[in-house]
């Protein structure tokens, strides 16, 4: 700590603080325009000028000047105020005073500073800027006439997002912010630039002229897409969610969001929302009443084992727990599951065997505290973009090393000094085993490893996985495997990250155990910056696992349930929020099962293609219309409150399950809060949590781990049939599950399915960007738009799984890799 004097006040500040930080820490406000605490100091705007006695009274920027012992600082002398007024006058010289039509009004730093410094006239005259406004994309409006050149957008896009869409163009008086060759913006559309813009230069187009900033009420919530667990502030007016509002103090991510979180909220107030229960009569879904619908459903549920259920891990913990209670206690069935059963096998089977806990042994916060990140599949960025931001910051700001094992390159491969081992698709487990073999072979194993149960078995089982043998099979070099192994072993702290989800069937229990083995062999677990982090797909995937909403004790799992529907042993199927027809593998099989089952109940926000097949459709609430808790992928349990009133004729899933329990003669806990106290009592790590205690930031549910070496089964190397390509499926950056199809933002920028292929294959099959190509596998064929990218290796094609219009499960039967032909 250093001692200094600010405005006559004796204060202390950390050694690495700037004058601005020191003042802020001690409650002294220095105005800023270009400074952002998340970004590196820049010093462009000169609003934060202060005087330092030791610097002979010169005016110096507080945001870039580090404190030194004994500094005497004045922050608001008449000269400084005059200088700041001059800065504002000069900015306002070119900045149009169009605040009445600017969406930023009320939330604008320039407006507020002009007001604070009472700059009501200007001694200078000049022309206003005459830049063309960029309306080329549907989400971000760029009006460079309002720009004050603070560079925050340029910096956040590089420092945090790692995309680099924007730059300073030209110089001197001509300088402006723009994209390469003055193109329109065409980026990831995360909107981070909008969030930090201090003026109205960057605005969210979906919110344009929807409401004045001061007319919005702010509601803190938790994002309903992926498992990262980002906190959101919803901007609500007239009971409608109109936008998301940036709050730099919110959550571990400091208000950073991805395109889904920021622009995907429109599904909440979508006109396509179901508004009343529907019952199938004479082959058509007819509007009905809740009483009729619930009576009918209750009558079909009272049939024990012939009833099965699938729930989306988007329901709250309370809803999943209550659903389970309904099924186990009142219906009498063990046949229930979520996310197709296999999607989170890495947790339920892999980690439970290796760590003795169905949870990751590391948190997202460990990323920036580690020394080396071993990422399995570059898709980790697409599935969890805000986790990707953490990786970017770790690599760029903290010098954390990044090694990637993947079947294709990706955005993460472009980070400074990142090394990507591109292996043949489907051989992840073999590569991890080869790393384990190398650790053993080169004696890089930690002393404590041999004390862990299963060590001898593992050592024996790895004999077939020498780096040389695996390298030959997987298309990478043995030297690269060995180098990776020695780097992993040498790093003081290392963290393994991999995504899981319905599209990543290869990221199974074996992958989880193979990753865990590496951590155990080198002693890199149960320590800060170490462990294995499984990025679970949906906002409450980890919650669904924690609530035990998966097949156990002989209950049927997701895929078995569908098989049993087809066979006729399951006669009633209750689907809460899942859309298996698009998101589960093998569409024709799913369709046959849903057609075969005697009675199909679907509770949903929308009439999805699955809901359209139901006998009863129950309209339920989105996260914005209810209270509850979600558990993020790293087991942060977060409570969120209702942001808007639900419409009269819809119910929360909680209310639906309560009513059904009552109809079946049981008693449900009165409110989610009451049920949560039961959950907290009996769920490992949740002890002591209550809705109230989770209000602000949530809390981590600790996982107690008992390491054990498990021998993973590595799949035989996949080789595409002669003349065919290897199809891998996964997540697109803009989407999550099938829900994002109802969010306008994601659909604006990624409206349809596509197939991504390498330049080599494009040339071989004479395919050009945007061509409609036919992709065929043994189970069917699909017409998709071609996207040619340098990241795909020759022989491998990628297509995401979110789209109902061109569902990949027509040609994908659930295998990690599928042989396909691609033709024009």
């Amino acid at each position: 700590m250093v001692n200094l004097t600010i405005d006559g006040k004796q204060v202390t500040a950390p050694k690495d603080a700037t004058i601005y930080d020191a003042a802020k820490l001690n409650g002294i406000k220095i105005p800023i325009l270009c400074h952002d605490k998340k970004l590196k100091p820049f010093g462009a705007c000169r609003m934060c000028l202060v005087e330092v006695e030791q610097m002979k009274g010169r005016q110096i920027p507080a945001c870039t000047t580090p404190v030194t012992e004994g500094m005497i600082i004045q922050t608001a002398t008449p000269e400084i105020v005059k200088a700041r007024e001059l800065v504002l006058e000069l900015l306002l010289l070119n900045h149009p005073l169009d605040c009445p039509v600017c969406d930023k009004a009320g939330d604008c730093d320039l407006q507020n500073l002009t007001y604070d410094y009472k700059v009501d006239s200007n001694r200078f005259t000049d022309l206003k800027f005459q830049h063309e406004i960029d309306y080329n994309n549907p989400l971000i409006e760029r009006d460079m006439n309002r720009c004050v050149l603070c560079g925050k957008c340029v910096r956040i896009c590089d420092e945090i997002v790692g995309y680099g869409a924007l730059t300073f163009i030209d110089r001197g008086i001509e300088t402006k912010i723009g994209c390469e060759f003055e193109d329109g913006l065409n980026c990831e559309f995360c909107g981070s630039c909008i969030s930090v813009c201090p003026v109205g230069s960057l605005l969210a187009r979906p919110f344009k002229h929807k409401a004045r900033f001061w007319a919005l009420t702010k509601h803190e919530s938790v994002c309903g897409y992926c498992g990262t667990g980002c906190r959101l502030t919803l901007g609500v007016k007239d009971n409608k969610v109109l936008t998301t509002i940036y709050d730099e103090n919110q959550g571990f991510h400091k208000g950073q969001l991805c395109v889904r979180g920021r622009f995907g909220y429109q599904f909440i107030n979508s006109k396509k929302r179901l508004t009343t229960p529907l019952i199938k009569k004479n082959g058509r879904l007819i509007e009905s009443t809740w009483d009729e619908a619930l009576d009918l459903v209750a009558g079909r549920l009272n049939r024990g084992n012939s009833v099965a259920a699938l729930a989306a891990p988007r329901l709250t913990n309370e809803e999943l727990a209550l659903f389970k209670k309904l099924l186990v206690e009142n219906v009498g069935t063990k046949n229930f599951d979520h996310a197709a059963g296999y999607a989170h096998a890495a947790l339920t089977e892999g980690f439970s065997r290796s760590f003795g806990a169905t949870a990751s042994s590391a948190s997202i916060l460990d990323i920036q505290k580690s020394d080396l990140l071993l990422v399995i599949k570059t898709d980790s960025y697409e599935t969890h973009p805000v986790v990707g931001f953490e990786v970017n910051m770790a690599v760029k700001n903290k010098g954390v090393k990044l090694s990637i094992i993947s079947d294709k390159r990706g955005k993460l491969s472009k980070l400074p000094h990142a090394q990507t081992l591109v292996h043949r698709p489907g051989s992840e487990v073999a590569v991890l085993n080869a790393i384990a073999w190398t650790l053993l072979d080169e004696k890089l194993v930690a002393g404590s490893a041999s004390l862990i149960a299963g060590y001898a078995d593992l050592e024996k089982s790895l004999s077939g996985f020498s780096a040389e043998a695996v390298a030959a099979q997987c298309g990478i070099s043995a030297a690269d495997i060995k180098k990776l192994a020695s780097e992993y072993a040498a790093a003081e702290k290392a963290l393994i990250i991999f995504p899981a989800g319905q599209a990543y069937s290869g990221h199974n229990a074996d992958l989880a155990t193979a990753a865990a083995n590496l951590a155990f062999l080198t002693g890199k677990y149960d320590k800060e910056g170490c462990g294995v982090l499984c990025l679970s797909e949906k906002n409450n995937s980890q919650g669904a696992v924690d609530m035990g909403f998966f097949a156990q004790d002989g209950g049927l799992n997701g895929l078995q349930i569908l098989d049993s529907c087809a066979e006729g042993t399951v006669k009633t199927l209750f689907i809460a929020g899942e859309n298996p027809l698009t998101s589960y593998p093998n569409r024709s099989k799913v369709k046959a099962a849903l057609e075969a089952v005697e009675f199909l109940i679907v509770s949903e926000l929308f009439l999805t293609e699955t809901a359209a097949m139901a006998d009863v459709v129950l309209p339920v609430c989105s996260f914005a219309e209810k209270d509850g808790t979600f558990t993020s992928t790293d087991r942060r349990v977060q409570y969120f409150k209702q942001a808007i009133r639900k419409s009269v004729l819809i119910k929360t899933d909680y209310e639906v399950f309560s009513s059904l329990i009552a109809r079946l003669g049981g008693v449900a806990p009165a409110t989610p809060a009451v049920l949560f106290s039961e959950i907290a009592d009996k769920t490992a790590g949740y002890q002591g949590m209550t809705h109230v205690s989770l209000l602000k930031e949530g809390a981590f549910a600790a996982a107690v781990t008992t390491p054990k070496f498990i021998v993973p089964q590595a799949a035989a190397p996949f080789t595409a049939e002669t003349g065919k390509l290897s199809l891998v499926t996964g997540s697109a950056l803009y989407h999550n599950g099938t829900l994002s199809q109802y969010g306008e933002g994601p659909m604006h920028v990624c409206p349809e399915n596509y197939v991504e292929l390498s330049r080599t294959d494009a040339a071989l099959y004479k395919i050009a960007e945007g061509d409609l190509v036919t992709v065929s596998s043994s189970s069917g064929s699909l017409q998709l738009k071609a996207k040619i990218t340098p990241r795909m290796p020759a022989g491998v094609v990628f297509s995401p799984y979110h789209f109902s219009d061109a569902p990949i499960n027509t040609i994908w039967s659930g295998a990690p890799v599928t042989s396909v032909t691609v033709s024009k």
Partner: protein, 170 residues
């Protein structure tokens, strides 16, 4: 050939021609801070920095395309459009100005039909006004590529244009 077709033809040609860019990139790839020498090198190779080359440099050096464009537009030395075989620079600094640089400049303009930073359609001439060439004793001064012409007169302008118009373009 329409403009668009001409541009397409040009880009088609350059696809093959990226070899020249690769040679420059290969030379500097391991050098820290290699962006400037690479951009200077590719500009020497192509006479300007075509977009397709800038994109290629971005991909190979792993630098954002936007950042490359920022650098290209920051420095006056980089050119984004094809340049003439002969670069005519007329000094309009103080000394040349008082010695009649304006008339020299206007005469070039009238003869060639191109103004400051413009290039003739046949890619023979590019015309630039510069602030000072550092040889005020020879004012008014003009340069064509590396050849210097001091004590310029209107008649000398005619002679210079005639001389360089007669030279082959290759």
């Amino acid at each position: 050939m329409s403009n668009a077709a001409a541009q397409q033809a040009e880009e088609q040609e350059l696809v093959v021609d990226l070899i020249k860019a690769d040679q420059v990139i290969d030379k500097y790839i391991d050098l820290p801070g290699n962006l400037m020498p690479v951009l200077q090198g590719v500009q020497d190779a192509y006479g300007y920095v075509p977009r397709i080359v800038a994109d290629h440099v971005a991909e190979r050096l792993n630098v954002y395309p936007s950042q490359i464009y920022g650098v290209l537009t920051f420095y006056a030395q980089f050119h984004l459009k094809p340049r003439g075989r002969f670069i005519i620079r007329v000094c309009v600094g103080t000394a040349c100005h008082v010695q009649g640089a304006q008339r020299i400049k206007e005469t070039f303009f009238n003869l060639l039909g191109i103004g400051h930073t413009e290039t003739s359609a046949d890619l023979r001439f590019t015309f630039e006004e510069v602030a000072c060439l550092g040889a005020c004793g020879m004012a008014p001064l003009a340069m064509v590529n590396d050849d210097t012409y001091g004590k310029m007169t209107v008649q000398k302008v005619d002679e210079i244009v005639a001389k360089y118009s007669a030279l082959p373009l290759d």
